[in-house]
Symmetry: C2
Subunit: 420 residues, 2 copies
């Protein structure tokens, strides 16, 4: 019963952020008489392009849809397959094509950009002198060094001809409208897809500082470090900053994000007479630690006896993998929650809104106050599974996986707690 | 301005959980005509005893106050100094005295127990055959192995003659009333002071399982493992379980806890016309990870524009020390929050309610949306300080420490966020 409710609410949340109707509805009300060029890039590019097709295909001249490999393009526009999370030769082809499209867009043209998560790797052109292998090497070493996403972006944007607002520079003086499906905590437009059409707050000097802080200066290809040094010396133009007149012609609209998914769920719950609280759509941090806070709030509400109540959290926790098991962010979070919520009088669901969690067929998992006890009765030790990052096997053995299949959208993860 | 408000609210919260008036008021309304024996133990034993002295000193026959070393006893009752967090010879003297007191309490007597944090180490008697050194060794190895507090308690309770309800067994058939100042997330009575008067949910078998899981079976003194094995074989009586008639004569009252401190703050804020939200009094987990969730909620409220608003969290995060700096849970949490809340339009305070954070003279620290920027202008890198667990030096350099001095109570930590 409670699980049906949770799964139903999950789908209501996902429906609220489906890119196809969001794009279609936005463009149906959007007024523009001139010629339109279209660039769709990201994991949601196919369905976003479909929305545009339905709203205004007759006005679109040239169009380019950049998708992850193997994903079908539902519209008869030019399609290029990039790759994700590591850029490939396909990503370079996509990047060059996007540069061409932006370059050809002139005064009086509208460049319509449909941007979703994954765009950063799907679309890339390294600065002349830098190779694709260099970029991959830099990425790998930055990740290994423990660099934050902001630090990685500072470096990557300064090695690229498309990231950090560079595509907007090329598109000038065309009018640019970017419709965004956000898969980033806080919806930071300079972070989503590495902000190809957004002012870059980072600098060459900042990128070099990151390499120094992370101890990578001596380990990266010399031409990468040289490039950044020449940029710092003013020999290469900086990425465009926020005070340039360029931005008068660029407009971003966030059509879908995690908050919107949570609000859709809350709305449906309230229509069913269930009080709903949205705590935040900005959950970050190590999943097993974060789970302790969410569980703390769940226990407190149970003790205050305020049910029936739906507690909603969204965002994207991280998992530092130390074990050899199978799982993902959402399932690991669910396992850590189950451990904290033994005896709790409600049920919960943690799942990725894209329907995919890690390299598993599940989107997430259900849990309740009996999860741990049921596991122990089956001879499973939940702590062992958590230590081995093996949440998928754990929930599979219990029959508590949530497997909706790919949903066609992606606004990170949601956690729903239902307290009867 | 905002800092004055936050500090004022902190004090209002602390006032709501001051043990002396709480004990005095409770006992003033408590009806008992027979003789009373009194045992006060914990970091708050002095002020709790003072409350009892004021309410009913003429009815108290024998009394024992067990305090941390160097702490003054404000009442002329017998005082013994134990030690904390590692038990000492003084803790053994205190334990023997407490056993004597409980043994002498008979039918028709009231044993009044005033229990607060730290009691577990301040009061100890190892089971015959086990030495104080054994206990210290077990503690050290359990901590090093990463054992949870519940796992540590399962072992410790089964090596002790006072923990895990054993003192209640000895006190039977006297009536026992335990007044509690809780310093434990969730107010678990089997955890506070290792539950000397509370049913023990753990077993000898469970204690052995812990040692096995943590890989300690071959590394602990043989007589410790032998003792647990003999217990499992039924040669030593188990700690008392919840279904025994013994508990008909034992009653616990939680007079003060973290929730009560948060509620006192919320009440005062509301009287000042500031909306206040208590999220939970059960915050746990690694401070720098937990901070990301709390910051996520703070950002969300700021973006929803719902101020003026006071966001309240309580509990006890942990810090896994890897650096060499000076700090404590609250100050490290404040530093991690400052990093997440750069640009946030409000102010916050994280502090221990006891007025002491780690081995520093501060209780915690203030922060706001400018903390990180102000630090960078002074040449301080907040990330470096966080990596070195050096939050105290960081906030000292900024002049943002909160130093109220010892408050005389302890219900863990509080985090207050004020959004104008």
């Amino acid at each position: 019963m409670d699980r049906e409710l949770l799964a139903w609410l999950y789908w209501k949340g996902v429906e609220g952020v489906m890119p196809r109707p969001l794009v279609r509805d936005f463009l149906s009300g959007f007024e523009w008489d001139g010629p339109v060029k279209l660039l769709a890039v990201g994991k949601g590019a196919g369905s976003m392009a479909q929305g545009a097709w339905e709203a205004c295909r007759e006005r679109v001249g040239e169009a380019l849809v950049v998708l992850p490999p193997g994903m079908e393009c539902p519209v008869p526009w030019r399609k290029v397959e990039g790759s994700h999370p590591i850029p490939s030769e396909g990503s370079l082809e996509a990047g060059e094509a996007a540069l061409g499209l932006a370059r050809e867009a002139g005064e009086g043209d509208l460049l319509l950009v449909l941007l979703s998560g994954g765009a950063s790797a799907l679309l890339e052109v390294p600065w002349p002198g830098i190779t694709l292998e260099d970029l991959m090497d830099v990425n790998r070493q930055l990740i290994k060094s423990g660099a934050t996403i902001r630090e990685m972006n500072a470096v990557r944007k300064h090695l690229s001809r498309v990231k950090g607002g560079r595509l907007a520079q090329v598109a000038w003086p065309a009018q640019v409208v970017v419709l965004v499906l956000s898969d980033v905590v806080g919806d930071f437009l300079d972070v989503i897809g590495s902000g190809p059409f957004y002012p870059d707050p980072t600098t060459f000097a900042g990128a070099l500082e990151v390499l120094e802080r992370r101890g990578l200066l001596s380990f990266l290809p010399l031409r990468v470090v040289d490039h950044l040094r020449r940029g710092m010396a003013g020999e290469i133009p900086e990425t465009p900053k926020g005070d340039e007149p360029l931005w008068w012609r660029v407009q971003h609209n966030i059509l879908g994000n995690n908050r919107k998914a949570l609000e859709s769920m809350a709305l449906m719950a309230r229509e069913e007479g269930i009080k709903a609280i949205i705590y935040t759509s900005r959950v970050k941090g190590e999943a097993r630690e974060v789970a302790q806070v969410l569980a703390g709030v769940a226990w407190e509400e149970a003790h205050c006896g305020r049910g029936p109540l739906l507690l909603l959290w969204g965002g994207e926790p991280t998992v530092t993998v130390k074990g050899k098991g199978q799982g993902g962010r959402a399932q690991e979070m669910a396992l850590a929650l189950a451990l904290e919520l033994e005896g709790w009088p409600g049920s919960f669901l943690v799942a990725g809104t894209d329907g995919i969690d890690g390299m598993t067929p599940a989107a997430g998992a259900f849990g309740d106050g009996t999860t741990v006890e049921r596991a122990r009765k089956k001879g499973l030790d939940p702590l062992d599974y958590l230590d081995d990052n093996d949440s998928h096997s754990f929930f599979e053995a219990l029959g508590d996986l949530f497997i909706p299949g790919p949903t066609g959208t992606n606004v990170m993860d949601v956690a729903l707690f239902y307290l009867p």
